[in-house]
Amino acid sequence: MLQEAALGADQIREIVREEIQRAMKKDPASKKAAIIASKGTLDWAYPPLILATAAAAAGMEVAVFFTFYGLTIIHKDFEKKLKVSPTGNPAMPMPVPMPDILTGMPGMVTMATSMMKSKFSKKKVAGIGELLDVARESGVRLIACQMTMDVFEYDQKDFIDGVEFAGAAAFLSEARKGHITLFI
């Protein structure tokens, strides 16, 4: 007891810090991530898949919940369905500055989409298909929101292999067990 009383404030702080670090290391929530993917454009398909695959590579258990337009990312026809719209997106780099009245013209979505695809492949960014493959290989759970599937009249057969189907409660049950939860 006498020896303990002789500990200085700095030593006590150091011991507490070490103990907290040790406890945090064993914290299962630091190994779990739950992500919601709610957007269905090519540009917004990337962030949830990049974060999910990076988290899996860091040894985390990851679940991505696809809802509303995000369902497009795991649709069998994602290659055709994922597009970029330049309208209402002033930050999008265009060959020449363009007001929204022009970006809304027919053919602009196709042009912006092929522009982004060629730029991405030139820079060797992984494609959506490759990221989905990596995600499934590394054990990322891909979960489709059954409610929005019903609203948009999608069938379970419309989605790529390995997709699970669930509702909000299933996502929340995953999310409450992890420190990382993202809505994208």
Partner: protein, 81 residues
């Protein structure tokens, strides 16, 4: 002081998240204590590699520029998978 690697991973030309995805796969095949050298050109890897190494309980040793690429050295940790 030069570090001798047990395995070399060429991740040049790849962008986030592929360098760490490939590093994760490669690291699984190494024994604890062995060193993985990763060559990359993605400058985001300068921050990502040490962060990934810490999260996976591996030991980040050092990095330097080498022939226009970035070279990272990571030693497999005792508790790493």
């Amino acid at each position: 002081m030069a570090i001798k690697e047990d395995r070399l991973l060429d991740a040049r030309g790849l962008l986030c998240p592929m360098p760490i995805v490939k590093a994760g796969k490669e690291m699984k095949t190494l024994q604890a204590g062995q060193v993985l050298k990763i060559l990359a050109t993605d400058r985001g890897a300068i921050a990502d590699m040490p962060a990934w190494a810490e999260d996976t309980e591996n030991h980040f040793l050092e990095w330097h520029e080498e022939d226009g690429a970035l070279a990272f050295y990571i030693r497999k940790g005792e508790d790493a998978s």
